[in-house]
Amino acid sequence: MADSPVIPQVLIELAEQFGALSFLAIGGVNALIPEIHRRVVDVYQWMSNAEFAQAFAISQASPGPNMLIVSVIGWKVYGFLGALVATLAICAPSSVLTFAVAHVWDRFRDAPLRAAIQRGLAPVTVGLVLASGYVLARAADETVAAYSVTLATALLALITRVHPLLFLGVAAALGAVGVV
């Protein structure tokens, strides 16, 4: 697209990268973190490992869908316009597909293949979400104290029914006073 000099190259790259990721996001955006990290940090080098961890923290500290890390990455790369392009790119392609499929889906409600597809996708998603945890831990945790926060949060979230926001609040307080 050499004949579109008014649109900055990086905006086109944001649209291409997140537009492609939109179709790969099976199991939601939390399963997509390793691939986003690979493209944004390793391939395009739009941000460092530490900045990726910060973007993740900012997106988690905000209310709303867990795809907001994409908005923060876009903002980091090209300001408000970058955020807008990245967010639209991750949402629009899959939304159009959903819109198209919703009309025919109900006809296949009891099809055995549909059940097999759903049962087959489940373990892939689990592996991807756990891979997200691993990639994020490598990006976010540098000290023993930081790994301890991650481990303690994971354990407590598994065995208690405490509101997730409480963990983030306690961690923020500990981090602000320099304990971890």
């Binding site: 199991g27 690979r38 988690q60 905000s62 209310p63 899959s94 891979a131 831990a137 949060t153 971890v180």
Partner: protein
């Protein structure tokens, strides 16, 4: 088609209803708002029955893309057509998008403060723990089936350790996993 018309007949849902219903869902939760979407759609506004919501959710999870966006597209479209889908998803994303950018701007301005850097780093450590816990919880239903655990482990190794591009991993693992699910179907 008959089901969508019965849902639409139950109560007239205007475009403004869609916008503000999903606007509230958008700012209701942290790290995912699906439980709040269920509460709004089923309990508060009764736009969907429990069964209808489960079906919408399962389709949203089956299709690629952010699940909650897919829910807003399906529900918006069911009541108000393509424009309804656009309005519902816009309502859902508007406030979270602006809030997260405000937070990012605040962080950029105050990142020189030790306390802000420390708090942000600790939040990302804790949020990582939440993701790991979520993955393990999602994995619990798999624990009785060996092939499902093997597939989950392969996906983890491919993406986390080998850093294989997601497209290749999906092209190999998804057909394999669906074939195994098909062979073991009840």
């Amino acid at each position: 088609m008959s089901e969508s018309s019965t849902a639409a007949e139950r109560a007239p849902v205007t475009q403004a209803d869609l916008f503000f219903g999903f606007l509230k869902v958008g700012v209701s939760g942290f790290g995912g708002v699906m439980p709040f979407a269920r509460r709004m759609l089923v309990d508060e506004r009764a736009w969907l029955t429990e069964r209808e919501f489960t079906e919408v959710l399962s389709l949203s999870q089956f299709l690629p893309g952010p699940n909650i966006i897919n829910v807003s597209i399906i529900v918006g479209n069911r009541f108000r057509g393509p424009l309804g889908a656009a309005i519902a998803s816009l309502g859902l994303m508007l406030m979270p998008f602006l809030i997260v950018l405000a937070l990012a701007a605040l962080y950029a301005r105050f990142a020189t403060l030790e306390a802000v850097r420390g708090a942000t780093a600790a939040v990302s450590s804790a949020a990582t723990g939440l993701i790991i816990a979520m993955g393990l919880k999602m994995g619990q239903p798999l624990s009785g089936t060996v092939w499902q655990i093997v597939i989950a482990a392969l996906a983890f190794v491919a993406l986390a350790l080998l850093r294989v591009p997601l497209l290749w991993a999906l092209l190999i693992l998804v057909p394999l996993s669906v074939a195994l699910a098909w062979r073991t179907r009840r």
